[in-house]
Symmetry: C2
Subunit: 182 residues, 2 copies
DNA sequence: GCTTCCATGTAATATGTTACATGATTAA
DNA sequence: TTAATCATGTAACATATTACATGGAAGC
C-alpha cells in the first residue's frame, strides 16, 4: 500500500486539500499512480489519525470550506523509511491494450476510432508535460531535479505510446482494405 | 472489471491451465494487465459457472493433474460485446516512480542501485520481446497482426523506460558529486 | 537438505470503485 | 437550465493481495 506514500510525497512540496490532491492524481502524477477522491479522503483521514499529516480549516467565501493538509515530522520519517525499502513491481491495467490483443474479434473501424481518441488525449498530455518541463528547466533544473525527472518520464511515455499508436493505425488501415471489417 | 476479458483473450488462441495463464500474466501480457494465480483461479471458477469457459481434466505423471480451460461460444460472445464498448482509462501503480518524485528525501546511491536493477530487468524483457517480434514477423506478420502489435507495444515501452533510466542515472550521478548522499 | 517448478486451491484482510449525498457559484 | 467547478464525505460492493495449505519431482 503506497497511496499514502504518494500523498506524502505530494505534501512535501506544499500543503494541499483532498480536492487538490485528487486533481494532481488526475493530471501529472496520474501517470505514475492514480487514486480517486474517495480513496484520498479516506487515506488523509487515516494519515491524520496516525499523526503523519495535520490540517487546518480554511473558510472560503462562495466556495465550501476546505482542509489544508501538511506533512508532519512523523510523516516525513515514514516516507524516509519507505524510500529505503525496494519498491514493489509496477502494476498496470490497460484495457485498451487487452482489446488490441484480442483484436481479431473486434471491429477494426471501432478500434481505430478509439485509438484516435486516445491519441488525442495523449498528445494533449504530452503538450502539458513539455510545457511543464520547460518551465522547470527555466527555473533551474537542479533545484527541481526530481520533479523534472518525473515529468521527463511522462514525456517519454507519451511519445512511446503515440509512436506505437501510429504503427497500429497503419497496420489496421492496411488490414481493413483487404479484409472487410466485421 | 476486465481480468475476465484478458483471460478470454488469452484463451482465444489456445486452451490453458490456470497455471499457464499465470505464467503469461507474469510475462508477455503482464505489461498490459497483471494478475496473480489466486485471482486467476477464482475468475476461472466464475467464468466456468457462467459457461464462458469449459475445462477438461488432464492427468499427468510425475506432475499434479491439471485443468485445461477453453473459451466457449458464450465466452466469445461476451468478449465481442466487451470489445464494442469503450475501454476504461489505463491505470498504473509504479512505486519506483513515486520514489523518484520524492527523491529529495531519498539516498541517491540507493536510488541508483535500484534503478540499475530495474534497468537490467527491462533490458531482459526487451530482448525477449524483440526475439518474439522477430519470430512473429518471420511467421507472417499479417496472420499474427494483433499479437505482433501487442509485442511492439512492449518493445517501445521498454525502450522508453530505458531511455528515461539513462537520463535519471546521469542526473543523479551528477547531483551526487557535489552534494554528498544521505 | 534446500530450492524451484508444477498445479491447485481457501480464507482473511486490504484496497479500490461506484453510487449516493449535499450545496453554493459560475459559465454556456 | 444545464452543466461544471469547488469541496467534502458515507455506504455498499467488487477486486486484489497476503498468508496459508498440499505434495511429488528435479536439480544443486
Amino acid at each position: 500500500m503506497s497511496l499514502r506514500h504518494a500523498i506524502l510525497v505530494l505534501l512535501q512540496d506544499q500543503e494541499a486539500s483532498g480536492y487538490d490532491l485528487a486533481r494532481e492524481f488526475a493530471n501529472s502524477i496520474g501517470l505514475v499512480w492514480n487514486a480517486t477522491h474517495q480513496q484520498i479522503y479516506l487515506e488523509l483521514g487515516k494519515l491524520n489519525e496516525q499523526h503523519m499529516v495535520s490540517f487546518r480549516h480554511v473558510p472560503q467565501e462562495g466556495k465550501p470550506d476546505k482542509k489544508l493538509y501538511s506533512i508532519t515530522e512523523d510523516g516525513r520519517q515514514e516516507l524516509i523509511r519507505w524510500l529505503k525499502k525496494p519498491a514493489g513491481p509496477a502494476r498496470i491495467r490497460d484495457a485498451f491494450m487487452v482489446k488490441v490483443a484480442g483484436g481479431q474479434l473486434a471491429d477494426s473501424g471501432a478500434l481505430l476510432g478509439e485509438l484516435e481518441q486516445l491519441s488525442k488525449q495523449r498528445r494533449e498530455r504530452l503538450a502539458t508535460f513539455e510545457a511543464l518541463a520547460q518551465r522547470l528547466d527555466e527555473q533551474g533544473r537542479e533545484e527541481n531535479l526530481y520533479s523534472y525527472l518525473t515529468v521527463r518520464r511522462g514525456i517519454l511515455d507519451q511519445r512511446a505510446w503515440l509512436q506505437w499508436a501510429e504503427e497500429v493505425r497503419q497496420a489496421l488501415e492496411h488490414a481493413s482494405v483487404g479484409l472487410p471489417t466485421s
